[in-house]
Symmetry: C2
Subunit: 337 residues, 2 copies
């Protein structure tokens, strides 16, 4: 398979992106196509140990920066690394695309160039979250800040398919993120969504309260993109803050330093479990193609994991299964952008 | 001052509530009035070391259970410990009320019996959150699951007053919780709210991203009640999950146990910092009276802290200041329940 990499997207582009893509190419059988300024990419590739044939370059002259207005940027910068990579998926020149670039532009570009699957109202950014027990799928985590109940119902189906195909969970437990366990709790969105989800052919286990999220009490967590984005960023922030405080405890004096050294391997495992870069990029489900978003601050390791996640995803039948399951509901979806 | 305690509200009522109230009475100069079944309360009080005059009982024959429908429960159970305690504030028989009972019923009862301040559209549950640096005020954390931008603007003012009067921060930094730092990010609620907040007489520092929340980068964080409830419960859950994983590391074998023992005092401090029970109850700001909500799962220690927080609050001029600041905007508030 061929994976297009937006080499100029992200806080650490292009250096870390190229390094990460090269690392991925070493372990994968896929062809990696670096998209961006050819001259610059050639210089960067010369520093790397690249085996022949697995990495190629596709020239793109422009770069979309962080903070540029999404819709305007993708319209104006048709030859940007971001737009060119997306178009490669659209035109069949690549099977998947990975970018750590401007999220808004990437989403807008994915909707515009790769396009929604027939029947899908809103594609959803879908993260796999670490928990104390098993990882858990959560969506939407940022593609749709304002949602309607029908969108969340589709997220539930897409998330369940993802959990089945990628996490190998036969009958994933689907839960609605809500601020109370009881059906009548929540805001108008979650109340209406709860009523709809009960009627769906899903293993719907009801509401999940935020405090239970880190314990892996559901396999799929459904929420609007605003709330989902808050959840993943807050877990990241809270874990980071706690480790920072623990560091203060460990480095207090000589005896604490010695004690911390004994615990180090175990602590490292815990930290890795809570570290999103270990989990790589997140797919945008519901598109006519495989579109992965890597964290904006991705370093080489994180970006490598994102490319590997995209490669892994290509081997699963997620997109086909979503198409087969949700295309039947294709009637009501033409109303929206 | 006199503090009414709903002795039959909460998962551990009445035993832990009574114990907590008695502990509080020992340190406070306030009079504590336990509200609930007199016979049962007398038996419980006999077991405690109570100094004369500081604790009294007010009989109430009914109990509102967890899960009872809010509006119906407070209408039907007029002689419940919850409704009677709220009415004591309304009638001037108590200066404040504290309950760990059914949140929905307590909020509905507070709105109905204690009533909103003139000018306040929506009272807000206001928590003080631990962070790596200084504690931070966050509201609303659960009273209003669906909000309009104007509500959030009032929350911002009430939160700023709270931070000034209770946390002694002269010019509190007020931030809007949002899924991006830029003004144009977010859902329709946060976008509109951002535009309004910029025009207010507040030290508005813009959006705060969820991952920065635990670092204390704002003194007041404003959000709708759904999101706020997600935030405090998710921080609690994430911290709990991490400590659970760390416990696994510490108890792995003899050497890790010994190492953990060295670090124990420091770890305890970190844990206490993240422990909500240390921070006691949360006030419902914007009411004609002092109404504190303790965590439903409060034990004696947590409930004692909630009563102490209410006592502390009574000494500050928060309610008067809110009344003085927000009563001017009294025109548009009669439209809503």
């Amino acid at each position: 398979m061929r994976i297009a990499v937006d080499a100029f997207g992200g806080d650490n582009a292009p250096e870390e992106i190229v390094k990460g893509a090269v690392s991925a190419a070493k372990t994968l059988s896929d062809e990696i196509i670096l998209v961006g300024d050819e001259a610059k990419l050639k210089i960067l590739l010369e520093k790397e140990d690249v085996r022949a044939g697995k990495i190629s370059i596709r020239h793109a002259s422009e770069v979309i920066q962080t903070g540029e207005p999404p819709v305007e940027s993708i319209r104006k910068k048709k030859d940007s690394s971001l737009v060119v990579s997306l178009n490669m998926v659209k035109n069949g020149e690549a099977d998947a695309v990975v970018s750590a670039g401007n999220t808004g532009s990437y989403l807008a570009g994915a909707f515009r160039y790769v396009g929604r699957m027939k029947g899908i109202m809103r594609p959803a950014l879908t993260a796999v979250m670490p928990t104390v027990t098993n990882p858990c799928v959560i969506l939407d985590v940022g593609a749709n800040a304002d949602c309607r109940p029908q969108h969340l119902v589709q997220f539930a189906h897409m998330g369940a398919i993802y959990a089945q195909q990628v996490l190998q969970i036969e009958k994933p437990r689907v839960a609605l993120l809500n601020i109370g366990a009881e059906e009548e709790k929540g805001n108008s969105l979650t109340k209406e969504t709860h009523a709809l989800l009960k009627e769906e052919e899903l293993n719907f286990i009801g509401n999940i309260e935020p405090r239970d999220v880190p314990y892996g009490m559901a396999d799929v967590i459904v929420c609007d993109g605003f709330t989902g984005n808050v959840v993943i960023k807050l877990i990241e922030g809270t874990a980071g803050a706690l480790f920072k405080m623990l560091k203060g405890v460990f480095y207090k004096n000589l005896s604490t330093k010695l004690a911390a050294a004994v615990l180090k391997p175990g602590l490292k495992t815990v930290k890795a479990k809570m570290d999103y870069s270990e989990y790589g990029g997140v797919p945008l489900l519901g598109l006519n193609g495989v579109v992965f978003k890597a964290h904006g601050s991705s370093d080489a390791k994180a970006f490598c994991n994102a490319v590997c996640a995209a490669s892994e995803y290509l081997k699963t039948g997620v997109n086909d299964k979503i198409r087969a399951t949700l295309a039947v509901a294709a009637t009501e979806c033409e109303e929206e952008e």
